[in-house]
Symmetry: C2
Amino acid sequence: MNTTGLDGFSLLDETWRAVTPDAARRMLIAAVQAFADKGYHATTTRDIASLAGMSPAAVYIHYRSKEELLFNISLVGHETSLALLSSIQGDGAVQRLRNAVATFAGWHAEFHTTARVVQYELGALSPEHHAEVAELRRQIEQRMRSYIADGVEEGVFDVPDLKGATLAVLSLCIDVARWYQPSGKRTPDEIGAMYADLVLRMVRPT
Amino acid sequence: MNTTGLDGFSLLDETWRAVTPDAARRMLIAAVQAFADKGYHATTTRDIASLAGMSPAAVYIHYRSKEELLFNISLVGHETSLALLSSIQGDGAVQRLRNAVATFAGWHAEFHTTARVVQYELGALSPEHHAEVAELRRQIEQRMRSYIADGVEEGVFDVPDLKGATLAVLSLCIDVARWYQPSGKRTPDEIGAMYADLVLRMVRPT
DNA sequence: CTTAGCTCTAAGCAACCGCTTAGTATGGAG
DNA sequence: CTCCATACTAAGCGGTTGCTTAGAGCTAAG
């Protein structure tokens, strides 16, 4: 019998494995699910606590406020996706951009629950916390831009507007978190591969 | 002196011109601004009323509930963007897809306030209202797909996965509402033109 | 065993929420 | 003028919100 309302095993565990103690992690995972499902403002601290199988007051043992829960999710989520994007390898700019887009888009599908909170609940962060996360977002953009710029320098990409193309590529990947449904036909890997193809078509020379 | 908190002239007026009486329209425009700014759930009926320069109770003279305000916005917003996408003209599939993407992406920039509510607050609609709007969204997808399919039939596009490509194109345009800022360098028209270029690159034959 | 410290719950507080009610001002019809 | 419908406000109701308080249960060091 599962009294927490959370699956016994979840992909979310992978992202939040480092969070301790156990109850704090369960609370965080419950918050991710609730925020992703209904949005930050529509989620009550009672929702989170009951998803985690605890009393409403238990939230405040591990977190100062509901907003701090969101900040923790947002911070770890951004750090994870930046780390993922920074670890891209491949032989030549074409391979690297292919891997970058496949990985980044695929992450937004596979971890769409986390990604939804990361991408669409930024506005609920306090100004200080928002600024901290914004810096990570700038680094993510810079990484993606450098993968495209590399191909331009190598002469294998034709990109009239580097900043605009970067924006479009990131936008494409990020929006996966909005429309992706696990019940859909495509797997996260297939979405990643398809998007990598589409992006390479966008930047290939005439 | 402006006591309503709304600009004397606003692009929003264009979309909501048909809404009467005057107070009902002002209330609706105030709701669009508040919902776009903070999200549906973070907006109180007092916020809306005070933006419209009226008392909290005045909301309920013209609308049954806060959700009905959202539904009105969502319905008119979807109908407007569907009408826009349906009116696309052009000589040949290349021109038509170019116009379609430029128009649709441009609308999401120019009317980003409305578009944000339309695209990101669907989840706050009642099940009945959501179903009604979902039908319009299906028609929008079908329109965009047909513009791409036309080019495939004409033999001027190379699209391995029609449904996937349609999804990506719509996704690209819709996400403009998330990142667009009027203070940015690009005008809505420039964004539309750039996106039309990127999309045509995506579907052009090798 | 005692005791300190951590984790948790039951109960509840002040503030705020969506929405309603009672009543006022206005303007046009008869 | 009276009468009535419409559009609005002041006040407030019941319920919910984020968060706090007081205290219980458990663990482990001394």
